[in-house]
């Protein structure tokens, strides 16, 4: 599971449908099923994360897998061991699934050439974050009943956002119109070649939107100087109540988090009636259970001895 670019429309829908059925598990008294009993899931995180790591851990535990966390900062990576050797060692301990987050695009792809465990990309640099893309799709489908025909705007730092790329592939495959909006230094014109519209004035975009996904400024992944100041960015691109009023009355607002209140959106908008931010978190758990479950099916399908 390396990215949504690699998945077909049918595969994406299959994950979403499976996730819907797992959402029910989370509403039970006993929030656990034995689907991955005896399996070992490793969270290999080479970059900080709260939400995604916790979500994957919980998802694996609800499927009865054994879960082990790994942090690069307290590992042999800090002694000079390579990323691949670290993963090979973990595999030698009997790992079935590696959930990999890494600051370098393609790092999970590199790993997939050196280990035989199932690999789930939990975010590789600015490339993809497929489970985030899937949970966004699930949240939109729940709220709107469909994805095909909707106009979805991705707002902000598109250039450095893995969430944007996974959203773009997923939304386009499921038939949505995608508008990318932000300052030209963060929204390259070449993105039109993916089949998206590129726009720089939020006020022009908002009236057409059914959904707006407010992305975080990726300060850690950019070289700086891409916009004059946070204050100026907020002046042009922060989602405020005034801007919400420019949109359709049933506008759905998503934000992958962590959200910067007062930068990308005001507290009123973040907590307002249009916001589905906490639904996204809930759906994230269901999506990750679905992905782990579906990959576990593939594990069972592996020939003996592989």
């Amino acid at each position: 599971m390396l990215g949504l670019e690699d998945l077909s429309r049918e595969e994406i829908l299959a994950v979403l449908d499976t996730a819907e059925s797992f959402a029910e598990v989370s509403r039970r008294d006993r929030k656990k099923v034995p689907a991955l009993l005896g399996r070992i899931v490793f969270n290999l995180f080479f970059e900080n994360s709260t939400r995604t790591r916790t979500s994957f851990s919980l998802a694996a535990k609800r499927l009865s897998a054994d879960v082990q966390d790994f942090s690069a900062s307290v590992s042999s990576i800090s002694k000079g061991e390579t990323f691949i050797d670290t993963a090979k060692n973990i595999e030698a301990m009997g790992c079935d699934v590696m959930v990999v987050r890494h600051p370098t695009p393609g790092a999970p792809h590199l790993l997939s050439q050196h280990v035989s465990s199932s690999i789930i990309n939990a975010g590789d640099g600015a490339h993809e974050h497929p489970t985030q893309g899937l949970l966004d799709l699930m949240t939109i489908r729940q709220a709107k009943g469909k994805i095909e025909g909707l106009t979805v705007a991705l707002l902000g730092d598109i250039s450095h956002s893995r969430v944007a790329r996974s959203n773009i592939w997923g939304l386009l495959k499921l038939g949505a119109k995608v508008i990318l909006c932000g300052p030209p230094t963060l929204v390259p014109r070449s993105m039109e070649r993916l089949g998206c519209e590129v726009a720089y004035r939020l006020e022009d975009v908002l009236p057409r939107c059914d959904v707006i996904n407010v992305l975080r400024i990726q300060f850690e992944r950019q070289q700086g100087g891409l916009f004059p100041s946070v204050g100026e960015y907020s002046q042009f691109y922060m989602m405020t109540q005034d801007r919400v009023r420019l949109a359709k009355p049933d506008l759905l607002i998503l934000a992958p988090g962590p959200i910067n209140r007062g930068v990308e959106l005001t507290p009123e908008v973040a907590d307002g009636k249009h916001s589905a931010i906490l639904d996204q978190v809930t759906n994230g758990l269901a999506v990750r259970m679905a992905v782990l479950y579906l990959l576990s099916g593939k594990m069972d399908a592996r020939p003996a001895g592989e």
């Binding site: 390579t82 990323f83 691949i84 890494h102 600051p103 370098t104 695009p105 393609g106 790092a107 792809h109 590199l110 590789d124 640099g125 600015a126 490339h127 993809e128 250039s159 450095h160 893995r162 790329r165 390259p188 070449s190 993105m191 070649r193 993916l194 070289q223």
Partner: protein
């Protein structure tokens, strides 16, 4: 030194506009006239069905010694050159320490002689310590054997320093080789900037970063009258700038590497670090422009930018893996398969870019030619053999190639340096009955 007769081959020597079947004779480490009354050869090389040409010269290789011998040494790099049909290499000075003194240049020359493989010529630094601040001792480097100057691995960013280098080097009539890259435009870049880098979320290096430096340096060459050589040209606009500079009579030359006429940035979709090089793989339009530049003579030299890196370094994540690929053992087949066979260049045109043009660039007066009296460096090429590139068979210490597993045509069959057969695929060299 043995007397060698290379017999029955198709002799292609662009320095003399020769393309004919015949014999080449070697004696005393020199080419001697084929009608010079020889009746005895110690060694006979049967070159029927083969091409006999001056030994290939690669003006752009990295041999990593001193300092990074885990990647390559002068001996292993020079052996890789021979295996690829290359009889002379000019090695870049970005070693540890860099080649910025006479003693450092002499060390390279000495190690090259000790290795006794391909000829090794040092290129000296433009600036002290390759820091881009003060001119290195260019005259002392020449005394140590340097054949050109460059800070390659990095550009000479300071325009004032570049101007002085172009001016000062005129007293030796040596060329300043420039790695053209405006560093401020490529911060964080690992590949060409464009649709593919955006799609993959990888930091980009815009073509303009090369174009702007090429434009600046051509102008500096114009006002100084110095000799400027554009290394590893990769963009359509840079090719156009060189073409325009030549048209205006400016002393500018350019080289291209096989990866820039065979591969595009789409290859990075694999996230394989063997496609990570600097300048990066560009777009199909750029590849077409490089080929056009080779065809019309704008780019007069083919070379490799042979950049060996030990496996453990290239196995890292893409942004941590170093730039560069090895090339010495794939230069010839890539040229045959992707320039000659499709009809972009004739054999004579390609060999010209690999021999006499390269020799002229670095002032090698007795190389790059089969005229009598020239150094007896000869490459015999089997033009029709089809073979599969296997990186684990390389003589280079490093295997970082994007061409592993590629099926290609053309291969060096026998390589003679300084009048000695130093490499052969076997079978065509025989001691003559007279000497046996």
């Amino acid at each position: 030194m043995p007397t060698i007769q290379i017999t029955g081959g198709r002799i292609i020597d662009p320095s003399q506009d020769i393309d004919q079947i015949g014999d080449v004779w070697i004696s005393g480490g020199r080419i001697v006239p084929s009608d010079g009354g020889h009746d005895h050869a110690d060694v006979v090389v049967d070159a029927r069905g083969k091409i006999v040409c001056p030994g290939l010269i690669d003006v752009h290789v990295h041999l990593r010694e001193p300092g990074q011998e885990e990647d390559e040494t002068i001996a292993t790099g020079a052996a890789a050159a021979l295996a690829g049909g290359v009889t002379s290499v000019a090695c870049m000075p970005n070693t540890l320490p860099p080649i910025d003194t006479q003693a450092a240049a002499e060390f390279v020359v000495l190690q090259g002689r000790r290795a006794k493989q391909a000829n090794v010529f040092p290129v000296g630094c433009v600036s002290k310590g390759r820091k881009g601040e003060e001119l290195a001792g260019l005259g002392q480097l020449v005394a140590g054997g340097a054949v050109a100057f460059t800070d390659d691995g990095a550009p000479v960013s300071n325009a004032g320093l570049m101007r002085r280098a172009l001016e000062y080097s005129k007293m030796f009539d040596l060329v300043i080789m420039q790695h053209c890259q405006v560093m401020e435009l490529t911060v964080g870049g690992v590949m060409n900037e464009g649709f593919e880098s955006m799609r993959l979320g990888l930091g980009g290096m815009p073509a303009a970063a090369e174009d702007i430096m090429v434009a600046r340096d051509i102008r500096l060459a114009e006002i100084t009258g110095g000799r400027l050589h554009i290394q590893h040209i990769s963009t359509a606009r840079a090719v156009e700038l060189v073409r325009e500079g030549k048209r205006r009579g400016i002393r500018v030359t350019a080289e291209a590497c096989p990866h820039h006429f065979t591969l595009t940035d789409e290859k990075l979709r694999s996230f394989d670090s063997n496609f990570k090089m600097n300048p990066p793989l560009r777009t199909a339009d750029d590849v077409a422009a490089v080929i056009e530049g080779l065809k019309d003579g704008t780019i007069e030299i083919l070379c490799t930018d042979h950049a060996p890196h030990a496996r453990e370094k290239k196995m890292r994540e893409l942004d941590q893996a170093p730039f560069g690929i090895v090339g010495l053992e794939t230069l010839l087949p890539m040229t045959v398969t992707y320039l000659i066979e499709p009809g972009h260049l004739t054999w004579s045109e390609a060999i010209r870019k690999l021999t006499i043009n390269a020799a002229n660039l670095i002032n090698l007066k007795n190389k790059g030619s089969l005229r009598p009296g020239a150094d007896a460096d000869v490459t015999v090429i089997d033009p029709s053999t089809t073979w599969t590139i296997q990186a684990n068979q390389f003589r280079s210490k490093s295997w970082n190639t994007p061409y592993d597993g590629w099926e290609v045509r053309g291969r060096a069959h026998t390589v003679i340096v300084h009048g000695e057969v130093r490499h052969t695929l076997g079978g065509i060299v025989q001691e003559s009955a007279a000497s046996a």
